[in-house]
Structures are given as structure tokens and as C-alpha cells.
């Protein structure tokens, strides 16, 4: 395995964020009896307050604690990201698998469906769906799943088509294995690798799009620990104070930095995974 410095950086970043997400309740203890994902407020003034010992990253507009926000934001990002990808992948496996394995008219129909969804830029379709469902994170989750599953369906279908014609599948069918058995025991394990690569490369995009929707005001409500939401709160403060243009730097820099590093870490890792797994796939 060729370890490039970049993949190690990616791995380090991902490990860092994973630890932060898992340790959130310890790093930033939630208030008892309240939704831990709602950031505690320390007042109602719209003017942000700079970092201090009690609030290491300062308070953003509305006096929400930024440190708490970004820590639980990490957890929220994982929570929603993994959920979206897992469900999309599952739907994709089922639909793509059926299309790839049985072919014919089923394949045609399903592929047309994915074509249609692909005709829309992801963010725009998600926007339309969220507006239809009503704003909120649940709508965002549902909308994202509906937008994302075709990617996995296409991938799995491609893999099924490729593997279907390989010898060991013919052999399994020849000795009388049922279709389901062939799919689950023989084809699926081989098709999994590209899926894993795609999933790891996808987390970044999914979290980015969710953050974008929150930024636009369609996802997480104000006060929720969501990086996109926090960045949207920072918009009014980019000009700073007269005489001190960067007075409120912490408000826009910190949440964005967390989001950026999270996405970059996963992209680096996904890239490295692809480099490693590629020859393996080809040799198969």
C-alpha cells in the first residue's frame, strides 16, 4: 500500500473528526433535559462576542456558543451524512442490482428513471423537494436520499453487469443456485468495493450539500448545531466594526473551517482508498 503524505493527512483529519463526534457529550456537555443538538444561548443580543475562557470560540449572532456549535455540528454532520448515504446506498443496491441482474425492460425503465433524476443539479432538485416537504432537517434528509440513490444504483448496476458475465457466476448458476443466492453470495461481495470508495468520496459532498441547504435557511433551524446554519449566521459580520474589519473573524472563520476540513479529510481519504483499491478491482 502506497502511503502518500496526503492520504495520511486525510486519515488524521478523519480520525480527529470522528473522535470529536463520538466525544461530543464529553467535550461539550449538553444541558440536561434539552435537545443536545440545540446550541445553548447566553443572551439574546445579535452582536457576537469574541473568544473567552468560558466560550473558547466566542459567541455568534444571537449569543450561541460557537465551540458547542461546531463540536455538536461534527456529530450532526456524521449523523445526517451517514444516514443519507446508508439509505441511498441500500436503495441503490436493490434497484441497481435488480436492473443489472435481470436486465431487459426492468433495466431500461430503471435507467430512464435515474437519467431523469440526473438531469437536475443535485442542490436544485433537493431544494425543490425540501420546499415541497416543508423546511427542516427531516425534509432535507429525505430529499437528499431521493437525490442521491441514483448514483449508487448506477454504480451497482454497472458492477452487476460486469460481474454477471464472469465465470464463477455462470458456475454458480450451473450448479443450481437460486438467483438470490447468486446475488448475495457471489456478485455482491465483489461489487462492494467500488461502492465503498464511492461512499467515502461522497460523505464530503453530502455534508456540503446539507450545509448549503441549511445555509440557505431550508435545513437546520436557527440555533441548531449545524455548520451551514452557523455560517449563515455569520453573514452580517463580514465587515466587522468601523476601524476593525476583522473584529468578528471567529464567527465566519471557525464554522467554515470545520466544514472545509471535514470535507477535505474525507476527500483525501476517499482518494487514497480509491488508489489502493483500484488495482485490486482490476486484478479481479
Amino acid at each position: 500500500m502506497r502511503e502518500t503524505p496526503l492520504s495520511i493527512v486525510g486519515l488524521a483529519i478523519v480520525i480527529f473528526f470522528t473522535i470529536v463526534a463520538i466525544a461530543a457529550p464529553v467535550l461539550a456537555p449538553p444541558r440536561p433535559g434539552r435537545d443536545p443538538y440545540m446550541i445553548p444561548r447566553y443572551g439574546y443580543s445579535p452582536i457576537p462576542k469574541p473568544p473567552s475562557p468560558e466560550h473558547p470560540f466566542g459567541l455568534t449572532q444571537g449569543q450561541y456558543d460557537l465551540y458547542y456549535g461546531v463540536i455538536w455540528g461534527t456529530r450532526a454532520a456524521y449523523r445526517i451524512g451517514v444516514l443519507i448515504i446508508a439509505v441511498s446506498a441500500l436503495i441503490g443496491i436493490v434497484i441497481g442490482g435488480v436492473a443489472g441482474y435481470y436486465g431487459g425492460i426492468i433495466d431500461e425503465v430503471l435507467m430512464r428513471a435515474t437519467d431523469i433524476i440526473f438531469a437536475f443539479p443535485g442542490l436544485i432538485l433537493a431544494m425543490a423537494l425540501v420546499v415541497a416537504f416543508g423546511p427542516g432537517l427531516d425534509s432535507v434528509t429525505l430529499a437528499m436520499i431521493l437525490v442521491w440513490w441514483p448514483g449508487y444504483a448506477r454504480l451497482i448496476r454497472g458492477e452487476f453487469l460486469r460481474i454477471k458475465s464472469e465465470d464463477f457466476v455462470e458456475a454458480a448458476k450451473a450448479i443450481g443456485c437460486s438467483d438470490l443466492r447468486v446475488i448475495v453470495k457471489h456478485i455482491l461481495p465483489n461489487a462492494i468495493y467500488p461502492l465503498l470508495i464511492m461512499a467515502s468520496l461522497d460523505i464530503g459532498s453530502v455534508v456540503l450539500t446539507v450545509a448549503a441547504l441549511s445555509f440557505l435557511g431550508l435545513g437546520a433551524p436557527e440555533g441548531y448545531a449545524d455548520w451551514g446554519q452557523l455560517i449563515s449566521l455569520s453573514r452580517n459580520w463580514i465587515t466587522g466594526k468601523p476601524g476593525d474589519p476583522f473584529a468578528y473573524w471567529y464567527v465566519y472563520t471557525i464554522p467554515g473551517l470545520f466544514l472545509f476540513l471535514f470535507v477535505m479529510g474525507w476527500n483525501l481519504l476517499g482518494d487514497a482508498l480509491r488508489d489502493v483499491m483500484d488495482p485490486m478491482i482490476r486484478r479481479r
Binding site: 438531469a119 442542490l123 445555509f215 440557505l216
Partner: protein, 330 residues
Amino acid sequence: MIPVLIGVTLLIFAITQLFDPYMRASLYIRDPRQAKNIEGIIRKYGLDQPMYIQYFRWLDQVLHGNLGWSQSIHMPVLDALLTHFPATAELALYAAPLTIFIGTVLGKLAAVKKDTAVDHVTRIMAIVGWSLPSFWLGIMLLAVFYGGLGIFSPGRLSTWAENLVLSGKFKVYTGLYTIDAILNLNGAVLLDALSHLVLPVTTLVIINMALLMRIMRSSMLEQLNKTYVIAARARGLKWKTVIDKHATRNALISVVTISGLLTAGMLSGMVITETVFEFKGIGYWAAHAATQLDIPAVLGFALFAGVVFVIANLIVDILYAYIDPRIRLG
């Protein structure tokens, strides 16, 4: 292409079905006064009829230009689209060619100088660009240049320029202020419009060139491994000639698709960038409409985006046939 277009309309229509008939009625009115007669509208467009009848009635309306009323900005959806499109087009006009150019040049460089410092640096640039949240990059750029240095403010024009444009003294030909400024021989407005384009275009280029760069790089690497490259060198051609004349041209073919999709993506509205920079294009309008739950606007916007994409795909296919003799001559 036609089936996909139909599919696009079907999908949008399917989304409309998520709403009750009263809300759907707003898709058919062109004038807020019509809102008073909701029952009449429901009957007129058959909103209580079975779905397939509704679909054709709706499609009929769409093809006649009636996309409903955008209540968030008080004008018919179609008009809103047309009014806001020039801003989006202007952004795309500068962002798309720059992105494509920089992306292909860097990608080619990275491939030719594979595994050297140049390759690694461009790779990092690509990963950073790909990972950057566009809204965060935009905000940071604004904070530094607008907040910190006081130049490059958001919006399309400074107040004075906007007043000039809206007055009768400035003739608006296209709606793209830079072009109109040239046509009006007005250097001041041209400069002002350009300075407002700098930051949004920079944001778009940084984020989008990443993908293009990587595709160009891998396409180039693929070509450099091909036999015809060795054969060309074996003929005694200089390495530079072989790269520029042969490998690059073949590599660009793969890049055409992604460039086309990129341009289409830009033309269908850059929701985030326009919002951050308050650049009043269709993306800005749609984002604003979404928060106001202005359904006809958002759906009209989505329909537009879908159609643009399908057409872009068609254009890309035609381009392919033009560039590649294997496709052209069959």
C-alpha cells in the same frame, strides 16, 4: 433526449402532486387577483381530476408560458426567470470559459509533469478546491476584500451605476451589464460591473476547476500511454509537438462532456454563489423564493434547470460528432 425531457416534466409534476389542490392552484395564476377565485381555478385546470388529466393540462400551461405566480417577488414566474436570467448569464459568461481554460491547462500540466512537484501542487489545489464550501469561500473572500480592503462589494453594480442603468440614459440591450456598458461606450459602468464580478467569478473558478483539472489530467495520462504517441515519437516528432498536436487533442474529447455539463450547471443558476454575493440571478431568486415557500418559483426554477441540462447534453453530443471523426463519419 425527448424521453428524458418528458421525464423531467413528469418529475416536476410529481413534486407538484405533493401539495393539496389549493396550493397547486397558485401554479396556474398569473395575477394575484386571480387568487380570489381559487375554486374557479381548481375547476378550470381540473385540479380535482385524476392525475393524468392534470398532467396534460399543466403541461399545456407550461408550454404556453404560464408557470404560475411568484409571490415572493410579485411577478409571474416566467417573467421572473427572464428578468433574472441575464445576471446568471453574465456570471456564467466569465466563469465558464475561465474555469475550463484554467482546468484544462493545469490538468495537462499535471499529466505531462506527472509525479513532479507541479503535479503534487496542482493535485492539492484540486482537492482544496473540490472540498471548499462555496458559501464559505465566498464569505471569506468578501470578508477580506470587501470587509478588509473595501473593494469588490457584493451585488452587480454600485449604487451610482445602478441608478444610471435604471434611468433612461443607459440603454439596456442584453441585461448583461458588461456587454451593455461596452455597447453604451460607458467605461465607468463597465469597470464597475467588472469589479463586482471579480469575487463571484473567482469563487466559481476555484471550486469548479478542480473537477475539470482532474478529468483532464487522467484523460491526458490515458492518451500519453497510447501507442500512437510512441509511434509519433518514433517518427521523429519533438515531444512538445506530440503532446500539443496529438495527445492533447485526443484528451480534450473527454473533457468536452464535463465542460458542457459545467456550463449548463452555471447557466441553470448558481444558487449559493448568487446568494452570497447578492448577485440577482435566477439562483438568487430561487433561494429567496424557497425560504418564502414560494412553490411556483422554486418549481419553475427546477424545471428550467432540468431543461437546460437536457439541452446541454444534446449540444455536447453534437460537439462530439463535430470533433471526433470516428463519430462524424461513422
